[in-house]
Structure formats: structure tokens, C-alpha cells
């Protein structure tokens, strides 16, 4: 459970906590460390995970898929033995063992390809990857796509795997395009995410709310009802900033049509009036004072005092979060039945909004290959996203919503099934803005919305933050 929590936390929290070592020269020191540390990680500790693996691989059921997907004809890497290093962020169980098993099974099917697994804590991997890309990068590594991917490609160390993936990438749906830049595939997603409101059915009942709100006005009315019943309406992890940004981005999806959003983001200038309107909507929501006490310093996922923890312990009724919430919540409470009390509803619409129907905010997790043995790496990613392996990952609780649509039948939780059917009805899943844009602009957006939540700045200022960051 914990691992999944971490892993999912992962997806969305470039910016949370954790201290990096600091000195006046931290930045420079990091740069210097790059050349040496990446080499060290390549061979140094890799023995441990591999030896662990033998036990995990042999014990569980042999039903695991083995030869399900070898990549067409011919030998991988020309039949020459090669060892690939795999960096992922599932550093605790069940994800850790599940991924190790995938690596071992792949090796069994392709004896000349050995995969050395290197799990990292999520915050570590986010700093390690950019640094490794300045030296010797791992062969397979965590990739969230979008603007950060486009920046990483500039290092020249990422493999264009289009030729190896084109025959099967269609199985992963349109979302796979988030791991492509200029039509070239630079990575493969293994799961998808979508953001919506999670709510406590028991607290809604207590406050006399019969059905989840579908419009902003209904939402604000429900906020009033919950407050009257003495319940904090919405939990918000404002310390981490990205949960703030979810609100503004969702309002934009309701106010602006898809082509306006995409063209404006690509032009790095949000000049259409609909972006300002989205800020006004957010202001209207903020003015109803819907959030938990001290939401500006509340973290998203750490401990019972976090926004997820408040929801888990019935201290707040709603939270705007991704599908990973169902994995984050259970460890934060002693309530064993918490999952059965959770419901999900899509972000409410706004009056006169021009948003494209079926638009949603989301993203996913995936992996990129570096230039060493890209064919073997691509074959591994094909194997990872194949139906039997994704099924196995879902059953092991290492994946919530698989990227491979044919593996979704393995999802058994009724609430997650609802989320899945919502995601399947989504025609346009906009990647979170902070991931879609370059890191600098994404960070600026999160900062701007976070300030807005604290009552600073204007709707116009929010919209301007993108162009301002882009100009620097």
C-alpha cells in the first residue's frame, strides 16, 4: 500500500517537501556531481535488487505472462548480451516487487537482455534524472511527458523509439501522444490519470445533499450546506501548490474550448478572455470560503493532517484530486471501510462556459529510453504495457488505471470503475499545465495560482503569468 501511495504521490509532486542538500554552491555542486554519480549508480548498487528478485520471481504464480509480446521478428540488440538499467520511482512494495518481477520475466523471455532495476524515492528521481542526462543516463527511466520531456530531449540522450512502437502504440490510446514530441515517440505510458472531485458519501448524506453538484453554483450551495452541518467542505493541499493549480486549470477547461487552450499554451500566451473568466470563477469559489482551516500550509498527501488525510478521516467532505486518491487515502486512516465511503464526480460546469464537452485534466506515468539498445528498451516497454502484464500490475495494486485499454477489465473496485468509465468518456484529456509546459512556466503557473488562493493577484495576473514566465 505504502509503495503505491508513494508512487502515485510521485506523479504529481515535483514540488513537495524533502530537502536537498544546500550550500551556497549547491547548484554548481550538483552539476559537478553529475558526471560521477550517474556512473556510480549504473553499476554500484545494482547487485542488490537483482539478488532480491530471484525470490520474488520464483514464488508467485507462474501464470505470469512470459512470451506474450516479443517484439516481432529478429533478436533484440542483434542477439548480443546487454544490461539495461531501469530507474523507476516505485521504491516500496507492492510496486517495487511488481516491477522487479516484470524485469525478471522479461529477462527469462529474452536471455540476452538483463535489466538492472534501480528504484528511487520519487523526489530523488526527479532531481537525479536531469542530472544524469548531463552525463550517462539510465537506459530506461521514469517519464511524465509534456514540456519536461521536450526539454530533456535537448540533451540528445533520449532515444526516438517511433519505429519500434508504431505497430502497437495504438493499444495505449490517444494518451500515448503525451509521450511524443513532434510526432516522434520518446516514451511510453503505462498508466493514465484523470482529475475530479472525490467526496465522502456519508458526509454528503449528513449534510442533506442528495446528489453531487454538477454546476459551480450547485457546488457553492453544497459548500454552504456542509458548513451549516459543521463539516469542512473541501480539503486542499495548498502547501504543495499543484493541487491549487488543478482548480484554475479545470475552470479553464470549462470556460475555453480545446483549440483555444492548446493553441494558447503552445504560444505560451493566454490572451483569450476565457482565461480571465476562469480566474473569476475560481475567485467566486474561493469567496465562498470552502477550504479547510489552514489550507495554505496543508500538504497534499503526507499524514492525517494532509488534505487526503482530512478526507480519509472524515474531517472534510471533498477533495479535487486524481484517481490515485484511492491509493493514497487508505493508509492515512484507521477506518478499514474508507474506500466504500468514497465517491467521485467530475469537475462541475460553469454558466455560459465555452469548454469542449468531454474535456478533462489528467496525465500519466511512463518510461523513456536512452540511446543504448533502444530496440530492447522499446520491446521491454511493449511487454510492460501488454495486457497480461498490466493485469498483473493492477492485481498487485501497482497500477490504478492502465494505459492499455484492454487491461481495464482487471479493475475491480466499484468507485474506480466509475472513474474509469468517466475517463473512457473523456474526449480531450489535457495534461496538467505544469507538466505540459516547460518546468519554469509550469512552476510559475503553480506559484501564481497558489498566490491567488492566498488572496494575492488578479484573474488577469493569473492569465499573464504564463507569458511572463515565458519571457524570462
Amino acid at each position: 500500500m505504502t509503495s503505491r501511495t508513494k508512487r502515485t504521490t510521485a506523479l504529481r509532486s515535483t514540488r513537495s517537501r524533502q530537502l536537498a542538500a544546500i550550500s551556497v554552491v549547491a547548484i554548481a555542486a550538483l552539476g559537478l556531481a553529475a558526471c560521477s554519480s550517474s556512473k556510480k549508480t549504473g553499476s554500484g548498487t545494482s547487485a542488490t535488487p537483482t539478488s532480491n528478485s530471484s525470490s520474488t520471481a520464483s514464488t508467485p504464480s507462474q501464470a505470469a505472462p512470459s512470451g506474450s509480446s516479443s517484439a516481432g521478428g529478429g533478436q533484440l540488440n542483434g542477439g548480443n548480451p546487454v544490461t539495461l538499467t531501469w530507474w523507476h520511482n516505485a521504491n516500496t512494495d507492492p510496486g517495487k516487487s511488481a516491477f522487479q518481477k516484470v524485469a525478471d520475466d522479461f529477462h527469462a523471455a529474452h536471455p540476452n537482455i538483463t535489466i538492472k532495476v534501480q528504484p528511487f524515492q520519487n523526489e530523488d528521481i526527479k532531481t537525479k534524472i536531469p542530472i544524469a542526462l548531463q552525463g550517462t543516463p539510465p537506459d530506461i527511466f521514469q517519464q511524465w511527458g509534456g514540456g519536461a520531456l521536450a526539454q530533456q530531449i535537448q540533451s540528445g540522450k533520449l532515444a526516438d523509439i517511433t519505429q519500434y512502437t508504431q505497430s502497437w502504440i495504438g493499444d495505449l490510446g490517444k494518451g500515448a501522444a503525451g509521450w511524443a514530441v513532434d510526432g516522434k515517440q520518446y516514451g511510453v505510458p503505462y498508466d493514465y490519470h484523470v482529475v475530479g472531485f472525490w467526496y465522502r458519501t456519508d458526509l454528503f448524506q449528513k449534510a442533506g445533499i442528495s446528489a453531487p453538484p454538477t454546476t459551480l453554483d450547485e457546488l457553492i450551495a453544497d459548500v454552504g450546506k456542509l458548513k451549516a452541518a459543521g463539516i469542512a467542505p473541501i480539503a486542499l493541499g495548498g502547501k504543495d501548490k499543484w493541487p491549487d493549480a488543478f482548480y484554475w486549470e479545470n475552470f479553464i477547461l470549462k470556460e475555453c474550448p480545446q483549440n483555444t487552450i492548446v493553441s494558447s499554451l503552445d504560444a505560451k500566451k493566454l490572451s483569450d478572455p476565457c482565461f480571465v473568466k476562469a480566474g473569476d470563477d475560481l475567485k467566486k469559489l474561493i469567496d465562498s470560503k470552502p477550504f479547510n482551516d489552514g489550507f495554505l500550509s496543508t500538504s497534499a498527501q503526507q499524514g492525517a493532517g494532509s488534505s487526503a488525510g482530512l478526507l480519509a478521516n472524515g474531517k472534510a467532505a471533498m477533495e479535487l484530486q486524481g484517481d490515485w486518491e484511492m491509493a493514497v487515502i487508505p493508509p492515512l486512516t484507521s477506518d478499514k471501510d474508507v474506500a466504500s465511503k468514497m465517491g467521485f464526480f467530475p469537475f462541475p460546469s460553469v454558466d455560459g462556459g465555452q469548454g469542449t464537452p468531454g474535456a478533462a485534466l489528467g496525465g500519466g506515468d511512463g518510461f523513456s529510453c536512452s540511446t543504448k539498445a533502444p530496440d530492447a528498451c522499446a520491446a521491454f516497454l511493449q511487454y510492460l504495457t501488454s495486457v497480461p502484464v498490466e493485469t498483473q500490475l493492477i492485481q498487485a495494486n501497482a497500477v490504478t488505471i492502465p494505459s492499455n485499454g484492454n487491461a481495464t477489465s482487471a479493475i475491480s473496485d466499484p468507485t474506480l470503475k466509475k472513474v474509469l468509465s468517466y475517463l473512457q468518456g473523456v474526449t480531450y484529456n489535457q495534461l496538467y499545465f505544469d507538466q505540459y509546459m516547460t518546468a519554469a512556466i509550469g512552476n510559475a503557473i503553480n506559484d501564481a495560482v497558489s498566490n491567488f488562493m492566498a488572496g494575492q493577484g488578479t484573474s488577469q495576473g493569473l492569465a499573464d503569468s504564463v507569458a511572463k514566465a515565458a519571457s524570462q
Binding site: 536537498a20 554552491v25 549547491a26 554548481a28 559537478l32 535537448q154 495554505l296 500550509s297 519554469a440
Partner: protein
């Protein structure tokens, strides 16, 4: 200290003598040749490792940061976009960075005005012979032993809405004093200052205690014989003699305030709305989160220059007397 400097001054009178014999000795050495070689070998053997570490981990990184700081660079690919001093200009025109500097200065001033008198008072108190002195000293020093990360997480838990601190106020009948300690933009910086004081004051107190131990008891007795009140003794005898220690305390505290990072970073991420951003959290945010390594390098250089200038000026005007005799200088 002062006796020492007087001793050096007196030895200065006999300097020609010493210099002559030294010159003679050196000539002798040169004649021998061998021993000077040995000296050099010894020197390089003893200084080498330290020098390599210092150059590799201090000088070189600073130089590299200066080099990166003139580029617009996201950390990937080659350095090619030279923008000169634009990064520095940007830093000083970014209101958040200016606020970060203000926050550092506020913390530094508060340390001087609140922490220092408090530390001296506590040090004087637990320097007296009394029962449980050892235990008190332990209690005072204990927080310093914790890592900043542990302190930050523990205090975050205690300060969260409805947490330990809020309960404490409520049970003491001061429920109206309860605030969003970390969530209120007007309060958060002072909350962090309190936590920082809790953590670091113990170290300063131990430093001051050591200074107090160095003051001979005879002086106190003599003052008492002359009819000085305890307050007069403290003010006229103890505090002046504690001067060197206090000056070192101020030095460490100022540098610490300028570089404050771990507590705000873990407790608030520099928020809300930048209300607890310091120069160090700002630069890490720009580097690690925004991939603006060039810009972050410029900010790190600015922070370095601030600390360096402060250190030099302070060394020149405040610490000079204290360190005289303990620092070697080039002959001539």
C-alpha cells in the same frame, strides 16, 4: 586573549634578534637543501588532501556557479546561450527575490535582538552552581542534536490547525490567540523564527557557556571584594570578557540567518504566497523545480557574495582583535 596579544607585542621588541637567527637558520637550511625538501614534502603531504578537498568542493563549485550564471540554461544540452548579467538583473527585479532577502534580514535582526540576549541570560543562569545544572544544560542543547528535517516535521505536526500548539493555547484559556501558524502570510515567518530559535539556541548557549568557563573566578571575587553588586559584576566584568564569544556567536548566527533553508523548505515550501521564502529556498526552487540552472546559479552567486562580504567586513571590524595571534599571516 588579551594577555596573549600583549605577549606578542612584547616579543616584537626582540624581533631583530629573532629575525637574525631565523635568517641564519634559513641559510643553513638552504645549504643543507635536504631539510627544505623534507619540509616541502611534509607540507604538501599534510596540506595536500585538505587543499584538494577545498579546491574541489569549495573553490571549483563557486567558479562553476559563476560560469553557469552568465548562461540561460535549463540543465540539459550544451551551454550556448550567453546572456551576460541578465540573470543577475532578473534576480534584483524579481519582487519575490527581494522579499526573500528581506525575510533573511528580518530573521537576522530578530536573532540579534531576541535570541542573543535570551541566550546570554540562559547561559549565565545555567553557569551558576546549582542542582540539576547538568540536566538543564542537556535539555538546552538537546534540540540542536536533532536534524533540521526532524525538527521541521515535528513542529509542522504540532503547528497544524487543531494540533498540539492550538490545544495548548485553548487549554490555557487563550483560545483567541490561536492562528494558522504556518498558513497565515503575516505570521509564518515569525513562526519559523521561533522554531529556528528552539533548534539553534542550544548551540549558541553552549558556546557562551564555554566562554563563561574561561573567565577566571578570581575576577568575580575581586569585584565582589570591591563591593560590586552581582549585576555590576555581570555588566562590567563578565560581559566584556565574554565579548569574543559573543562576537563569534553573532558571526555564526548571521551566516546561519542568511543561509536559512531547511526549516522553511520542509515546513512551508517557502509559502504561503512566498511569505517564508528565503534566498536559499528561492534558489533551490528555481534550480530543481523550474530547471533554471543558469538563473539559480546566479542567485547562488548572489547569496555567496552576500555571505562573503558580510564575513569579510565582520572579520575586519569585529573579529580582528579576537583572532589576532591565532591566525598566521604572510611575512612582510
Amino acid at each position: 586573549m588579551s594577555t596573549q596579544s600583549r605577549a606578542t607585542a612584547r616579543s616584537g621588541e626582540t624581533l631583530p634578534d629573532v629575525a637574525d637567527s631565523a635568517r641564519a637558520a634559513r641559510q643553513l637550511d638552504r645549504l643543507k637543501g635536504r631539510s627544505s625538501w623534507r619540509q616541502r614534502l611534509e607540507l604538501s603531504f599534510l596540506l595536500g588532501p585538505a587543499l584538494i578537498l577545498f579546491v574541489g568542493f569549495v573553490i571549483l563549485p563557486i567558479a562553476v556557479a559563476v560560469y553557469y550564471s552568465i548562461y540561460k540554461w535549463n540543465g540539459f544540452g550544451p551551454l550556448k546561450d550567453v546572456i551576460g548579467f541578465a540573470n543577475y538583473k532578473r534576480a534584483f527585479s524579481d519582487s519575490l527575490f527581494i522579499r526573500a532577502i528581506e525575510h533573511n534580514v528580518i530573521i537576522a535582526v530578530l536573532s540579534l535582538v531576541i535570541q542573543l540576549p535570551l541566550s546570554i541570560a540562559i547561559a549565565l543562569l545555567i553557569n551558576r552552581k546549582m542542582r540539576g545544572r547538568g540536566f538543564l544544560r542537556l535539555v538546552v542543547f538537546a534540540p540542536y542534536v536533532l536534524s533540521a528535517a526532524v525538527t521541521a516535521v515535528t513542529w509542522s505536526l504540532m503547528l497544524q490547525p487543531g494540533g498540539f500548539v492550538d490545544q495548548l493555547f485553548k487549554n490555557a484559556g487563550a483560545g483567541s490567540w490561536v492562528h494558522a501558524w504556518l498558513g497565515d502570510t503575516h505570521i509564518v515567518l515569525y513562526t519559523i523564527f521561533v522554531v529556528a530559535s528552539w533548534q539553534y539556541m542550544g548551540f549558541g548557549i553552549v558556546l557562551l557557556l564555554a566562554g563563561l568557563q574561561g573567565i577566571p573566578g578570581e575576577l568575580r571575587e575581586a569585584a565582589a571584594l570591591d563591593g560590586a553588586t552581582p549585576w555590576q559584576t555581570t555588566r562590567m566584568v563578565i560581559l566584556p570578557l565574554l565579548g569574543p564569544t559573543i562576537r563569534i556567536w553573532i558571526f555564526l548566527s548571521m551566516i546561519g540567518s542568511l543561509q536559512l533553508f531547511d526549516l522553511p523548505w520542509i515546513m512551508t515550501n517557502g509559502g504561503p504566497a512566498g511569505a517564508s521564502t528565503t534566498m536559499a529556498t528561492y534558489l533551490i526552487d528555481k534550480g530543481i523545480h523550474s530547471y533554471e540552472y543558469g538563473y539559480a546559479s546566479a542567485v547562488s552567486v548572489i547569496l555567496f557574495v552576500f555571505c562573503f562580504i558580510f564575513a569579510l567586513v565582520y572579520q575586519r571590524f569585529a573579529l580582528r582583535r579576537d583572532t589576532q595571534g591565532s591566525l598566521t599571516r604572510m611575512a612582510g
